[in-house]
């Protein structure tokens, strides 16, 4: 009894996100006096810092001081992404409990532990790399590119080139 999923054409989706970005920069400038752009990866640093602070009370860390461990615009934006995806996946009929995604299953079998290890180790490098490069596909790929930032252009080229090489090494089985 699978209901047909409601989906949005990627070009239309992209155009809507472009319009949303314009509204965000304009409205945040008018309403809070500071221009805000899309971004997500700094929030992971804040969450990590807040967790670390919970265990180490006299925490002194240059990087946490630089990003400031406060609940800010971007932190709420990330919470919003979670809520928006939850509501929309129920409305669109795409919500589904999934332990191992199909492409992974085809290559490595239906192994949840292995998938969890891949996801964790991959997540580690994603965050470490994003912090080093000072942005992720939201911060560099969307916001940085919209501002025509030179660093963001380089970041997007390196992100994709590297992922294309590693993904082909990982998922294309040698026969």
């Amino acid at each position: 009894m699978s209901m047909k999923e409601r989906v949005l054409n990627p070009y239309i989706g992209g155009i809507l996100v472009g319009i949303l970005a314009i509204l965000v920069v304009y409205l945040t400038t008018v309403l809070i006096g500071d221009t805000k752009f899309f971004g997500t990866s700094t929030t992971f640093v804040k969450m990590a810092g807040l967790i670390e602070k919970f265990f180490v009370h006299d925490l002194s860390n240059q990087y946490y001081e630089k990003v400031k461990l406060t609940i800010d615009w971007q932190f709420m934006f990330v919470i919003g992404i979670f809520l928006g995806a939850l509501i929309s996946s129920i409305l669109s009929g795409s919500f589904r409990i999934e332990l191992v995604p199909p492409i992974f299953r085809e290559r490595f079998g239906n192994n949840f532990i292995l998938r969890a290890v891949f996801a964790f180790v991959g997540g580690f490098f994603v965050a470490f790399g994003a912090r080093l490069a000072d942005g992720c596909p939201s911060g560099h790929g969307l916001s940085g590119m919209m501002q025509l930032s030179l660093g963001s252009l380089l970041a997007v080229i390196v992100f994709f080139s590297s992922a294309i090489i590693f993904a082909n090494l990982i998922y294309r089985s040698r026969r």
């Binding site: 240059q62 995806a85 996801a119 994603v126 470490f128 912090r131 490069a133 090489i165």
Partner: protein
């Protein structure tokens, strides 16, 4: 106000990402395996529309820019590590959060990995500074670097994106 706006725009952003299916592991891995270009179509459409609006508003003096510095060393090394991680996990930071909300339980491990990665980075930051500062050209835009108008760059970007879209559609990617 800042927090309410963040939440509201986050909900809208998360909803568009979900309906366009770009948050999925399948779409991200298929893109870097060059089999399904959904996320590339999405991203370049967004950048094209956004870049016009952002630059017009900026030239009119209505907004400010938040450029990230062009740090060649940090972006190349960080970008390579990011690509490795992205290929393994199939999620970037924004999409991992949305994928978990869509019931993809394995995205939780990606999020945990990202939290640990961020924590380790923050603690190693003083030692990583030499890499971060290597080849730092400062906060610079593409049009400043080539000394042209921003609209010239947007026009080139548009021609490139539309050519790419045409290629994807004819090849059914």
């Amino acid at each position: 106000m800042e927090l309410i706006l963040g939440l509201v725009f986050g909900v809208i952003f998360g909803s568009i990402l979900t309906f366009a299916r770009v948050i999925r592991y399948e779409k991200q891995i298929s893109a870097v395996l060059l089999k399904d270009m959904t996320i590339i179509k999405f991203m370049f459409s967004a950048v094209l529309v956004g870049s016009i609006g952002v630059n017009v508003l900026y030239q009119m003096g209505l907004i400010s820019l938040h450029l990230k510095p062009m740090m060649i060393g940090a972006i190349v090394v960080g970008g390579i590590l990011f690509g490795l991680g992205w290929a393994m996990t199939g999620y970037c930071p924004g999409t991992s959060v949305a994928a978990l909300a869509e019931g993809r339980i394995h995205a939780l491990f990606a999020i945990l990995g990202m939290l640990v990665g961020s924590m380790i980075f923050a603690n190693l930051y003083p030692y990583l500074k030499p890499i971060i500062e290597f080849g730092n050209l400062g906060k610079i835009t593409i049009y400043q670097y080539f000394n042209v108008s921003p609209y010239t760059i947007i026009a080139i970007l548009a021609i490139f994106a539309i050519g790419m879209f045409y290629f994807f559609e004819t090849k059914k990617l």
